[in-house]
Protein backbone atom coordinates (compact mmCIF):
# COMPACT_ATOMS: atom_id res chain seq x y z
CA UNK A 1 0.00 0.00 0.00
CA UNK A 2 2.83 2.32 0.84
CA UNK A 3 4.24 1.74 -2.59
CA UNK A 4 1.07 2.48 -4.37
CA UNK A 5 0.22 5.56 -2.36
CA UNK A 6 2.71 7.92 -4.00
CA UNK A 7 1.50 6.69 -7.34
CA UNK A 8 -2.05 7.46 -6.52
CA UNK A 9 -0.96 10.80 -5.17
CA UNK A 10 0.92 11.53 -8.33
CA UNK A 11 -2.03 10.46 -10.43
CA UNK A 12 -4.26 12.70 -8.39
CA UNK A 13 -1.77 15.52 -8.77
CA UNK A 14 -1.63 15.01 -12.46
CA UNK A 15 -5.33 14.92 -12.85
CA UNK A 16 -5.59 18.02 -10.70
CA UNK A 17 -3.00 19.74 -12.84
CA UNK A 18 -4.64 18.65 -16.01
CA UNK A 19 -8.04 19.63 -14.88
CA UNK A 20 -7.27 23.27 -14.27
CA UNK A 21 -5.64 23.95 -17.66
CA UNK A 22 -8.39 22.17 -19.52
CA UNK A 23 -10.98 24.50 -18.04
CA UNK A 24 -9.07 27.66 -18.79
CA UNK A 25 -7.46 26.77 -22.16
CA UNK A 26 -9.41 24.26 -24.16
CA UNK A 27 -6.81 24.16 -26.99
CA UNK A 28 -3.99 22.83 -24.78
CA UNK A 29 -5.33 19.27 -24.64
CA UNK A 30 -3.23 18.21 -27.66
CA UNK A 31 0.26 19.66 -27.72
CA UNK A 32 1.79 19.68 -31.22
CA UNK A 33 4.26 21.76 -33.19
CA UNK A 34 1.39 23.78 -34.49
CA UNK A 35 0.81 25.09 -31.03
CA UNK A 36 2.02 28.55 -30.43
CA UNK A 37 4.27 28.81 -27.40
CA UNK A 38 3.67 32.11 -25.80
CA UNK A 39 4.50 33.51 -22.47
CA UNK A 40 2.59 36.71 -21.92
CA UNK A 41 1.39 38.07 -25.22
CA UNK A 42 -1.23 35.90 -26.91
CA UNK A 43 0.18 36.88 -30.29
CA UNK A 44 3.78 35.92 -29.38
CA UNK A 45 5.33 34.09 -32.36
CA UNK A 46 2.27 34.62 -34.52
CA UNK A 47 4.32 35.05 -37.68
CA UNK A 48 6.52 31.91 -37.22
CA UNK A 49 6.59 29.87 -40.40
CA UNK A 50 10.08 28.40 -40.79
CA UNK A 51 9.23 25.46 -38.51
CA UNK A 52 6.57 24.39 -40.98
CA UNK A 53 9.00 23.85 -43.88
CA UNK A 54 10.55 20.40 -44.54
CA UNK A 55 14.05 19.88 -43.18
CA UNK A 56 16.77 20.98 -45.65
CA UNK A 57 20.19 19.32 -45.88
CA UNK A 58 22.90 21.41 -44.27
CA UNK A 59 24.86 23.54 -46.75
CA UNK A 60 28.46 22.40 -46.72
CA UNK A 61 31.04 23.81 -49.11
CA UNK A 62 31.53 21.21 -51.87
CA UNK A 63 35.15 20.13 -52.10
CA UNK A 64 36.06 20.74 -55.74
CA UNK A 65 38.53 18.65 -57.73
CA UNK A 66 38.06 15.57 -55.63
CA UNK A 67 40.32 12.72 -56.61
CA UNK A 68 37.93 10.10 -57.91
CA UNK A 69 38.86 6.48 -57.35
CA UNK A 70 39.70 4.26 -60.27
CA UNK A 71 36.97 1.75 -61.00
CA UNK A 72 38.37 -1.65 -61.82
CA UNK A 73 36.97 -3.87 -64.54
CA UNK A 74 34.48 -6.55 -63.61
CA UNK A 75 33.15 -9.43 -65.64
CA UNK A 76 30.39 -7.45 -67.28
CA UNK A 77 31.71 -3.91 -67.38
CA UNK A 78 34.84 -2.07 -68.29
CA UNK A 79 36.65 0.01 -65.68
CA UNK A 80 37.42 3.70 -65.89
CA UNK A 81 37.84 4.56 -69.57
CA UNK A 82 39.27 7.72 -71.10
CA UNK A 83 37.77 8.81 -74.40
CA UNK A 84 40.28 11.29 -75.77
CA UNK A 85 39.36 13.57 -78.66
CA UNK A 86 42.15 15.59 -80.26
CA UNK A 87 42.56 17.73 -83.35
CA UNK A 88 43.68 21.06 -84.76
CA UNK A 89 40.27 22.75 -84.98
CA UNK A 90 39.09 23.66 -81.49
CA UNK A 91 35.41 24.20 -82.28
CA UNK A 92 35.10 20.79 -83.96
CA UNK A 93 36.97 19.03 -81.14
CA UNK A 94 34.88 20.69 -78.43
CA UNK A 95 31.61 20.04 -80.22
CA UNK A 96 32.50 16.37 -80.72
CA UNK A 97 33.43 15.93 -77.05
CA UNK A 98 30.15 17.58 -76.06
CA UNK A 99 28.33 15.21 -78.40
CA UNK A 100 29.99 12.19 -76.74
CA UNK A 101 29.11 13.53 -73.27
CA UNK A 102 25.47 14.04 -74.27
CA UNK A 103 25.33 10.59 -75.83
CA UNK A 104 26.58 9.07 -72.57
CA UNK A 105 23.93 10.95 -70.62
CA UNK A 106 21.30 9.69 -73.01
CA UNK A 107 22.47 6.07 -72.77
CA UNK A 108 22.79 6.31 -68.95
CA UNK A 109 26.54 5.74 -68.99
CA UNK A 110 28.07 7.38 -65.94
CA UNK A 111 30.52 10.11 -66.86
CA UNK A 112 33.08 10.54 -64.09
CA UNK A 113 34.86 13.62 -65.42
CA UNK A 114 35.16 15.73 -68.52
CA UNK A 115 38.31 17.82 -68.78
CA UNK A 116 40.78 19.30 -71.23
CA UNK A 117 44.47 18.49 -71.46
CA UNK A 118 46.99 21.29 -72.15
CA UNK A 119 47.19 22.46 -75.77
CA UNK A 120 50.32 21.47 -77.65
CA UNK A 121 51.74 23.90 -80.20
CA UNK A 122 53.59 22.58 -83.21
CA UNK A 123 55.67 24.93 -85.34
CA UNK A 124 55.91 24.02 -88.99
CA UNK A 125 59.29 25.11 -90.38
CA UNK A 126 59.76 25.14 -94.11
CA UNK A 127 62.99 25.46 -96.05
CA UNK A 128 63.33 28.68 -97.97
CA UNK A 129 63.31 28.34 -101.72
CA UNK A 130 66.55 30.29 -102.09
CA UNK A 131 69.00 29.48 -99.37
CA UNK A 132 69.40 26.93 -96.59
CA UNK A 133 67.60 28.78 -93.82
CA UNK A 134 64.27 27.52 -92.54
CA UNK A 135 61.51 29.93 -91.69
CA UNK A 136 58.40 29.57 -89.60
CA UNK A 137 55.54 28.78 -91.91
CA UNK A 138 52.71 28.02 -89.51
CA UNK A 139 51.89 27.28 -85.88
CA UNK A 140 49.49 24.37 -85.42
CA UNK A 141 47.82 23.91 -82.06
CA UNK A 142 46.59 20.45 -81.06
CA UNK A 143 43.63 20.61 -78.68
CA UNK A 144 42.69 17.60 -76.55
CA UNK A 145 39.50 16.90 -74.65
CA UNK A 146 38.89 13.88 -72.42
CA UNK A 147 35.58 12.36 -71.39
CA UNK A 148 36.08 9.91 -68.53
CA UNK A 149 33.50 7.13 -68.22
CA UNK A 150 33.30 5.38 -64.87
CA UNK A 151 31.79 2.09 -65.98
CA UNK A 152 30.76 0.97 -69.43
CA UNK A 153 28.51 -2.04 -69.72
CA UNK A 154 30.05 -4.67 -71.97
CA UNK A 155 26.87 -5.27 -73.96
CA UNK A 156 26.48 -1.54 -74.55
CA UNK A 157 30.12 -1.04 -75.59
CA UNK A 158 29.88 -2.15 -79.27
CA UNK A 159 26.79 0.00 -79.85
CA UNK A 160 28.38 3.03 -78.19
CA UNK A 161 31.65 2.64 -80.09
CA UNK A 162 29.83 2.20 -83.39
CA UNK A 163 27.80 5.37 -82.92
CA UNK A 164 30.75 7.56 -81.97
CA UNK A 165 32.88 6.18 -84.79
CA UNK A 166 30.19 6.77 -87.39
CA UNK A 167 29.74 10.34 -86.18
CA UNK A 168 33.43 11.16 -86.01
CA UNK A 169 34.08 14.41 -87.90
CA UNK A 170 36.97 14.97 -90.31
CA UNK A 171 40.28 16.04 -88.87
CA UNK A 172 39.56 14.66 -85.40
CA UNK A 173 41.38 11.74 -83.76
CA UNK A 174 39.54 9.52 -81.31
CA UNK A 175 41.27 7.32 -78.76
CA UNK A 176 39.71 5.07 -76.10
CA UNK A 177 42.07 3.93 -73.37
CA UNK A 178 42.03 2.78 -69.79
CA UNK A 179 42.60 5.42 -67.16
CA UNK A 180 45.84 5.03 -65.23
CA UNK A 181 47.60 6.92 -62.44
CA UNK A 182 50.07 8.28 -65.00
CA UNK A 183 47.21 9.80 -67.02
CA UNK A 184 45.98 11.54 -63.88
CA UNK A 185 49.43 12.95 -63.09
CA UNK A 186 49.78 14.32 -66.63
CA UNK A 187 47.17 16.94 -65.86
CA UNK A 188 49.34 18.67 -63.27
CA UNK A 189 51.89 21.34 -64.08
CA UNK A 190 55.51 20.66 -63.37
CA UNK A 191 56.89 22.56 -60.36
CA UNK A 192 60.52 23.38 -61.10
CA UNK A 193 61.29 25.01 -57.71
CA UNK A 194 59.97 22.04 -55.79
CA UNK A 195 61.90 19.62 -57.98
CA UNK A 196 65.04 21.69 -57.46
CA UNK A 197 64.62 21.69 -53.68
CA UNK A 198 63.98 17.94 -53.62
CA UNK A 199 67.09 17.38 -55.70
CA UNK A 200 69.05 19.53 -53.22
CA UNK A 201 67.83 17.49 -50.27
CA UNK A 202 68.81 14.20 -51.81
CA UNK A 203 72.20 15.31 -53.06
Amino acid sequence: LQVTFPQQASILNLSLCRATPSIQHPMWSTASINERQYRDMPTHGIGRWRHLLPKQASKKKKVRNQVKDLVSATDTAYGTLNVKVSGYDMTVVEHYSQYIHNLCNRLNIKVAESYALPTKSTEVLLMQEQGNKTFVDAVLKTHQRVVQLSSLNASLCPVFMDVILKNQPEGVQLSVQEHTEADYLLRFKARPELDGLIAQIYQ
Binding site: D75, A154, P158, L165, K166, P169
Partner: protein, 292 residues
Protein backbone atom coordinates in the same frame (compact mmCIF):
# COMPACT_ATOMS: atom_id res chain seq x y z
CA UNK B 1 21.38 -21.26 -73.15
CA UNK B 2 24.28 -23.41 -74.16
CA UNK B 3 27.87 -23.10 -73.04
CA UNK B 4 29.27 -20.06 -74.80
CA UNK B 5 26.98 -17.62 -73.00
CA UNK B 6 28.11 -18.93 -69.66
CA UNK B 7 31.70 -18.68 -70.81
CA UNK B 8 31.25 -15.06 -71.81
CA UNK B 9 29.86 -14.23 -68.40
CA UNK B 10 32.56 -15.98 -66.46
CA UNK B 11 35.73 -14.95 -68.23
CA UNK B 12 37.34 -11.68 -67.28
CA UNK B 13 37.32 -8.90 -69.75
CA UNK B 14 39.93 -8.15 -72.33
CA UNK B 15 40.81 -4.50 -72.20
CA UNK B 16 41.21 -2.78 -75.48
CA UNK B 17 43.44 0.06 -76.46
CA UNK B 18 41.82 1.45 -79.54
CA UNK B 19 43.06 4.39 -81.56
CA UNK B 20 40.94 5.65 -84.41
CA UNK B 21 41.67 8.63 -86.59
CA UNK B 22 39.90 10.36 -89.41
CA UNK B 23 42.36 11.55 -92.03
CA UNK B 24 42.13 13.21 -95.41
CA UNK B 25 41.22 11.35 -98.56
CA UNK B 26 44.74 11.34 -99.92
CA UNK B 27 46.15 9.00 -97.32
CA UNK B 28 44.01 6.02 -98.24
CA UNK B 29 40.52 4.75 -98.02
CA UNK B 30 40.62 3.42 -94.47
CA UNK B 31 41.16 4.95 -91.06
CA UNK B 32 44.32 4.28 -89.13
CA UNK B 33 43.87 1.90 -86.23
CA UNK B 34 45.98 0.45 -83.51
CA UNK B 35 44.61 -2.09 -81.10
CA UNK B 36 46.52 -3.56 -78.20
CA UNK B 37 44.62 -6.04 -76.08
CA UNK B 38 46.18 -5.66 -72.66
CA UNK B 39 44.71 -8.55 -70.82
CA UNK B 40 42.95 -11.36 -72.53
CA UNK B 41 42.37 -14.23 -70.15
CA UNK B 42 41.94 -17.70 -71.52
CA UNK B 43 38.36 -18.88 -71.25
CA UNK B 44 37.60 -21.25 -68.42
CA UNK B 45 36.82 -24.63 -69.81
CA UNK B 46 33.54 -26.03 -68.62
CA UNK B 47 33.26 -29.75 -68.20
CA UNK B 48 31.15 -31.73 -70.61
CA UNK B 49 28.92 -32.87 -67.77
CA UNK B 50 27.74 -29.31 -67.02
CA UNK B 51 26.58 -28.58 -70.50
CA UNK B 52 23.07 -29.63 -71.28
CA UNK B 53 22.96 -30.88 -74.83
CA UNK B 54 20.79 -28.61 -76.87
CA UNK B 55 19.44 -29.35 -80.33
CA UNK B 56 20.62 -25.96 -81.61
CA UNK B 57 24.16 -25.75 -82.96
CA UNK B 58 25.95 -22.44 -82.62
CA UNK B 59 27.64 -20.24 -85.18
CA UNK B 60 29.25 -16.83 -85.04
CA UNK B 61 29.24 -14.28 -87.83
CA UNK B 62 31.14 -11.04 -88.24
CA UNK B 63 29.64 -7.77 -89.45
CA UNK B 64 32.76 -6.08 -90.82
CA UNK B 65 32.17 -2.43 -91.58
CA UNK B 66 34.28 0.03 -93.49
CA UNK B 67 33.56 3.45 -92.01
CA UNK B 68 33.04 6.49 -94.27
CA UNK B 69 36.27 8.25 -95.23
CA UNK B 70 34.89 11.64 -96.31
CA UNK B 71 31.93 13.58 -94.97
CA UNK B 72 28.64 13.18 -96.80
CA UNK B 73 27.41 15.95 -99.08
CA UNK B 74 25.00 18.43 -97.54
CA UNK B 75 21.37 18.54 -98.64
CA UNK B 76 20.19 21.84 -100.25
CA UNK B 77 18.74 23.17 -96.98
CA UNK B 78 21.94 22.28 -95.14
CA UNK B 79 24.00 24.06 -97.79
CA UNK B 80 21.94 27.23 -97.55
CA UNK B 81 22.11 27.18 -93.76
CA UNK B 82 25.85 26.62 -93.86
CA UNK B 83 26.30 29.58 -96.20
CA UNK B 84 24.16 31.77 -93.99
CA UNK B 85 26.14 30.83 -90.87
CA UNK B 86 29.45 31.48 -92.63
CA UNK B 87 28.18 34.87 -93.76
CA UNK B 88 27.12 35.74 -90.21
CA UNK B 89 30.45 34.62 -88.82
CA UNK B 90 32.31 36.71 -91.38
CA UNK B 91 30.30 39.80 -90.57
CA UNK B 92 30.74 39.40 -86.82
CA UNK B 93 34.47 38.60 -86.99
CA UNK B 94 37.35 40.95 -86.18
CA UNK B 95 40.20 41.79 -88.54
CA UNK B 96 43.11 39.34 -88.29
CA UNK B 97 46.85 40.20 -88.01
CA UNK B 98 47.46 39.51 -91.68
CA UNK B 99 44.62 41.78 -92.76
CA UNK B 100 45.84 44.52 -90.41
CA UNK B 101 49.27 44.38 -92.03
CA UNK B 102 47.66 44.58 -95.47
CA UNK B 103 45.80 47.73 -94.46
CA UNK B 104 48.94 49.30 -92.98
CA UNK B 105 50.93 48.57 -96.12
CA UNK B 106 48.22 50.04 -98.30
CA UNK B 107 48.21 53.13 -96.12
CA UNK B 108 52.03 53.45 -96.33
CA UNK B 109 51.88 53.17 -100.12
CA UNK B 110 49.26 55.87 -100.39
CA UNK B 111 51.31 58.13 -98.11
CA UNK B 112 54.41 57.58 -100.23
CA UNK B 113 52.54 58.44 -103.40
CA UNK B 114 51.27 61.69 -101.91
CA UNK B 115 52.87 64.86 -103.26
CA UNK B 116 54.30 66.17 -100.00
CA UNK B 117 56.00 62.99 -98.87
CA UNK B 118 59.11 63.38 -96.79
CA UNK B 119 60.80 60.05 -96.26
CA UNK B 120 62.84 61.34 -93.30
CA UNK B 121 59.68 62.00 -91.30
CA UNK B 122 58.59 58.42 -91.55
CA UNK B 123 59.45 56.20 -88.63
CA UNK B 124 61.75 53.84 -90.36
CA UNK B 125 61.40 50.56 -88.53
CA UNK B 126 62.75 47.31 -89.90
CA UNK B 127 61.76 47.32 -93.53
CA UNK B 128 60.10 44.07 -94.35
CA UNK B 129 61.80 42.11 -97.02
CA UNK B 130 58.52 40.83 -98.36
CA UNK B 131 55.43 42.99 -98.65
CA UNK B 132 52.29 41.44 -97.29
CA UNK B 133 50.61 41.48 -100.68
CA UNK B 134 53.48 39.46 -102.17
CA UNK B 135 53.09 36.91 -99.38
CA UNK B 136 49.46 36.58 -100.26
CA UNK B 137 50.32 36.12 -103.92
CA UNK B 138 52.77 33.30 -103.14
CA UNK B 139 50.11 31.57 -101.04
CA UNK B 140 47.57 31.87 -103.86
CA UNK B 141 50.08 30.35 -106.24
CA UNK B 142 50.68 27.40 -103.93
CA UNK B 143 46.94 26.83 -103.57
CA UNK B 144 46.55 26.70 -107.36
CA UNK B 145 49.29 24.08 -107.59
CA UNK B 146 47.57 21.86 -105.02
CA UNK B 147 45.21 19.34 -106.62
CA UNK B 148 43.04 17.39 -104.16
CA UNK B 149 41.91 13.86 -105.01
CA UNK B 150 38.39 13.63 -106.45
CA UNK B 151 35.71 12.98 -103.85
CA UNK B 152 33.53 10.75 -105.99
CA UNK B 153 34.95 8.37 -108.58
CA UNK B 154 32.15 6.84 -110.61
CA UNK B 155 34.09 3.85 -111.90
CA UNK B 156 35.23 2.74 -108.43
CA UNK B 157 31.71 3.20 -107.06
CA UNK B 158 30.35 0.68 -109.55
CA UNK B 159 32.82 -2.01 -108.56
CA UNK B 160 31.05 -3.83 -105.73
CA UNK B 161 34.03 -5.86 -104.60
CA UNK B 162 36.32 -2.89 -103.96
CA UNK B 163 36.64 -1.48 -100.45
CA UNK B 164 37.29 2.00 -101.88
CA UNK B 165 33.80 2.52 -103.26
CA UNK B 166 31.31 5.09 -101.93
CA UNK B 167 33.69 6.91 -99.60
CA UNK B 168 30.88 8.92 -98.00
CA UNK B 169 28.93 5.87 -96.76
CA UNK B 170 29.69 2.99 -94.45
CA UNK B 171 29.92 -0.40 -96.16
CA UNK B 172 29.31 -3.93 -94.89
CA UNK B 173 31.18 -7.03 -96.05
CA UNK B 174 29.16 -9.87 -97.56
CA UNK B 175 30.51 -13.26 -98.56
CA UNK B 176 28.99 -16.05 -100.57
CA UNK B 177 29.04 -19.17 -98.47
CA UNK B 178 27.72 -22.67 -98.78
CA UNK B 179 24.80 -23.19 -96.40
CA UNK B 180 23.35 -26.65 -96.58
CA UNK B 181 22.68 -27.33 -100.21
CA UNK B 182 22.82 -23.83 -101.64
CA UNK B 183 25.18 -20.90 -101.95
CA UNK B 184 23.89 -17.79 -100.23
CA UNK B 185 25.10 -14.25 -99.76
CA UNK B 186 25.46 -13.57 -96.04
CA UNK B 187 27.72 -12.10 -93.37
CA UNK B 188 30.80 -14.34 -93.06
CA UNK B 189 30.06 -17.01 -90.47
CA UNK B 190 31.70 -20.09 -88.99
CA UNK B 191 30.57 -22.87 -86.71
CA UNK B 192 31.47 -22.68 -83.02
CA UNK B 193 33.95 -25.25 -81.79
CA UNK B 194 34.73 -26.58 -78.35
CA UNK B 195 37.04 -24.55 -76.17
CA UNK B 196 36.83 -21.21 -77.95
CA UNK B 197 34.74 -18.12 -77.31
CA UNK B 198 32.14 -16.90 -79.78
CA UNK B 199 34.26 -13.88 -80.53
CA UNK B 200 37.17 -16.12 -81.51
CA UNK B 201 34.79 -18.02 -83.75
CA UNK B 202 33.85 -14.75 -85.44
CA UNK B 203 37.53 -13.88 -85.90
CA UNK B 204 38.10 -17.27 -87.45
CA UNK B 205 35.16 -16.70 -89.78
CA UNK B 206 36.68 -13.42 -90.94
CA UNK B 207 40.12 -14.93 -91.49
CA UNK B 208 38.73 -17.78 -93.51
CA UNK B 209 36.84 -15.53 -95.89
CA UNK B 210 39.21 -12.61 -96.45
CA UNK B 211 42.81 -12.33 -97.43
CA UNK B 212 45.62 -12.50 -94.88
CA UNK B 213 46.48 -8.79 -94.85
CA UNK B 214 43.07 -7.53 -93.75
CA UNK B 215 43.05 -6.22 -90.17
CA UNK B 216 39.84 -5.73 -88.26
CA UNK B 217 39.10 -4.37 -84.79
CA UNK B 218 36.30 -6.10 -82.94
CA UNK B 219 34.18 -3.63 -81.02
CA UNK B 220 33.43 -5.81 -78.02
CA UNK B 221 32.99 -9.27 -76.61
CA UNK B 222 29.22 -9.13 -76.63
CA UNK B 223 27.28 -9.98 -79.78
CA UNK B 224 25.05 -7.34 -81.32
CA UNK B 225 22.42 -9.57 -82.88
CA UNK B 226 21.18 -13.13 -83.27
CA UNK B 227 19.43 -15.08 -86.00
CA UNK B 228 18.11 -18.58 -85.60
CA UNK B 229 16.77 -20.86 -88.24
CA UNK B 230 15.58 -24.44 -88.38
CA UNK B 231 17.10 -26.92 -90.78
CA UNK B 232 14.82 -28.26 -93.51
CA UNK B 233 12.84 -31.29 -92.37
CA UNK B 234 14.94 -33.62 -94.41
CA UNK B 235 18.15 -32.61 -92.65
CA UNK B 236 16.79 -32.57 -89.11
CA UNK B 237 18.05 -35.26 -86.74
CA UNK B 238 17.72 -36.02 -83.05
CA UNK B 239 20.63 -33.88 -82.08
CA UNK B 240 20.23 -30.89 -84.36
CA UNK B 241 17.03 -28.99 -85.00
CA UNK B 242 18.54 -25.77 -86.26
CA UNK B 243 21.26 -23.23 -85.93
CA UNK B 244 21.71 -19.99 -84.01
CA UNK B 245 24.00 -17.36 -85.50
CA UNK B 246 25.44 -14.63 -83.27
CA UNK B 247 26.69 -11.46 -84.94
CA UNK B 248 29.75 -9.51 -83.83
CA UNK B 249 30.61 -6.02 -85.02
CA UNK B 250 34.06 -5.18 -86.31
CA UNK B 251 35.64 -2.17 -87.98
CA UNK B 252 38.01 -2.47 -90.91
CA UNK B 253 41.47 -1.18 -90.03
CA UNK B 254 43.94 0.05 -92.59
CA UNK B 255 45.01 -3.14 -94.31
CA UNK B 256 46.12 -3.40 -97.87
CA UNK B 257 44.65 -6.67 -99.12
CA UNK B 258 47.59 -8.58 -100.42
CA UNK B 259 46.39 -11.84 -101.90
CA UNK B 260 43.01 -12.43 -103.50
CA UNK B 261 40.21 -13.44 -101.13
CA UNK B 262 39.22 -17.08 -100.96
CA UNK B 263 35.50 -16.54 -101.50
CA UNK B 264 33.69 -13.91 -103.62
CA UNK B 265 33.28 -10.78 -101.51
CA UNK B 266 31.00 -7.78 -101.74
CA UNK B 267 31.12 -4.41 -100.04
CA UNK B 268 27.56 -3.07 -99.93
CA UNK B 269 25.74 -0.12 -98.44
CA UNK B 270 22.79 -0.70 -96.12
CA UNK B 271 20.36 0.28 -98.87
CA UNK B 272 21.81 -2.36 -101.18
CA UNK B 273 21.65 -5.15 -98.60
CA UNK B 274 18.08 -6.02 -99.52
CA UNK B 275 19.07 -7.30 -102.94
CA UNK B 276 21.49 -9.87 -101.58
CA UNK B 277 20.11 -11.17 -98.30
CA UNK B 278 17.13 -13.41 -97.68
CA UNK B 279 14.11 -11.55 -96.17
CA UNK B 280 14.04 -13.28 -92.74
CA UNK B 281 17.81 -12.85 -92.35
CA UNK B 282 17.55 -9.28 -93.55
CA UNK B 283 15.05 -8.23 -90.85
CA UNK B 284 17.38 -9.44 -88.09
CA UNK B 285 20.52 -7.98 -89.60
CA UNK B 286 18.82 -4.69 -90.41
CA UNK B 287 18.30 -4.02 -86.72
CA UNK B 288 21.91 -3.64 -85.73
CA UNK B 289 23.50 -2.11 -88.82
CA UNK B 290 23.47 1.64 -88.25
CA UNK B 291 23.13 3.87 -91.25
CA UNK B 292 24.47 7.11 -89.82
Amino acid sequence: MAAPCRKMASRSFSRLLCYFSSTAVGSGACRRFSVTPIDRATPLGSTAADRATSPWSLMAAVCLQRLPVISADCSPIEQRFKQMLQQMELEKSLVSDHELRLLEDAEKMSRRQAADYDSDEEDRGDQEIMMTQDLEDTWEQRLKNFHPAPRVRADVDEDLSSAQRCLADSLVLLAEQQVGAEKLWLLPQAAWQEGETLRQTAERALDSVTAAGVKATFLGNAPCGVYKYKLPKAARTEGSVGRKVFFFKAILADGAPGSAPTAPLLWVKKSELQEYLKPAYMTKVDRFILNL
